[in-house]
């Protein structure tokens, strides 16, 4: 009898104290939706539409995106095997350059947005990782499939990779960076990224 009672106490204790921070189903998707909605709100804000507000608008968008995107993880995964050989300063520098690269490539697309609708097609959670599928309907009646790969960082689900129409961002840059580094050197890669960033 006493044993059963003890067991019950232990079970109860382990239930109350051993609990992980609770993950609600739908959390990764919900957090992504919030970020997207914020960006869309900035884009459709009439006060920010004029040409001289362009810079201000970009900064606002970047601030929102920064919260959701794990740039360092993206840079680490893209550099793959070559990341470990870099010094902390180099890693930091590379993360900034990588972020600037993505900014240049994707900001125009985000700003010139003519999306009609965004449909959230569900998520797949696997421990601390989750994939969220999104379908973007453009004004031209086309659909674009986007899959976000996120991982849990504290209470936030942060994006470390995304796949557009089956083409993955990290995989794409991983192959490119690897080729450049093997053909020439890491310094050459940084040089190329820097010249690209000054061109804008």
């Amino acid at each position: 009898m006493l044993q059963i009672f003890l067991l019950q106490v232990i079970l109860l204790l382990s239930l109350t104290f051993g609990m992980e921070p609770i993950t609600f189903a739908g959390e990764p998707q919900e957090q992504l939706r919030q970020t997207t909605d914020k960006v869309l709100a900035i884009l459709s804000d009439p006060a920010l539409k004029s040409h001289n507000k362009l810079k201000e608008r970009r900064e606002l968008i970047l601030k929102v995106v920064d919260e959701r995107f794990d740039w360092e993880e993206m840079a680490r995964r893209s550099l793959a095997r070559h990341w470990a050989q870099r010094s902390p300063e180099e890693k930091q520098e590379f993360t900034i350059l990588f972020k600037e690269l993505l900014e240049r490539v994707y900001m125009d697309k985000v700003e010139g947005y003519s999306w009609n609708k965004i449909a959230y097609e569900g998520e797949h959670i696997d421990g601390d990782y989750a994939a969220v599928k999104v379908k973007v309907f453009t004004a031209r009646d086309q659909t674009i499939q986007v899959e976000y790969r996120t991982r849990k960082k504290g209470h936030q689900w942060v994006v470390y990779d995304f796949i557009i129409e089956g083409v993955g961002l990290v995989n794409n840059y991983r192959t490119q960076f690897n080729e450049i580094i093997l053909k020439s050197s890491y310094q050459e890669l940084v040089k190329r990224l820097k010249t690209k960033s000054t061109q804008n």
Binding site: R77, R81, Q142, D161, E165, N178
Partner: protein, 146 residues
């Protein structure tokens, strides 16, 4: 006595022939006799895109294993990869389904990651990319122009 010898010779000859046939079918069919060396990991793809049992698995163009099994799990393709024991796959490696040339056979390419954790036998490659439907992409491009 002589007849017996001839019969024995024919019997041995047939037996040798059958052994050769067996060896050939295993070699050509790329089957493995009891296990084979190496280990298995699995990956979940949203679309297996025509990869078959026995399809190649490559890293940097070098064959490192073969597809052992493909099954449907939760309306997704669960593919078991049989890899050479010499090859270690990092936890953040990406497995993607590719096509040799435009219409060639399908294979799985693994782009090695930078993590210091490796996937243990029976583990899973989390990062996967299904095959890109070129036809669909081209049609999108075409219609965008109009």
């Amino acid at each position: 006595m002589k007849k017996y010898n001839i019969e024995l010779a024919v019997g041995l000859f047939v037996l040798a022939g059958m052994l050769c046939l067996g060896y050939l079918s295993i070699k050509l069919g790329k089957m493995e006799v009891v296990g084979g060396k190496g280990y298995e990991i699995y990956a979940i793809f949203s679309n297996s895109g025509g990869v078959k049992q026995g399809s190649n698995i490559v890293i940097a163009g070098v064959e490192v294993g073969r597809v052992k099994n493909i099954a449907l799990e939760n309306y997704q393709a669960r593919i078991i990869l049989s890899l050479s024991s010499k090859v270690k796959i990092q936890e953040d490696a990406i497995a993607s389904i590719k096509t040799k040339g435009l219409v060639g056979e399908k294979y799985i390419e693994i782009t090695p990651g930078g993590s210091d954790k490796f996937i243990s036998p029976g583990g899973r490659i989390r990062e996967t990319q299904s095959s890109v439907d070129l036809e669909e992409l081209i049609s999108k491009l075409v219609f965008e122009k109009i």
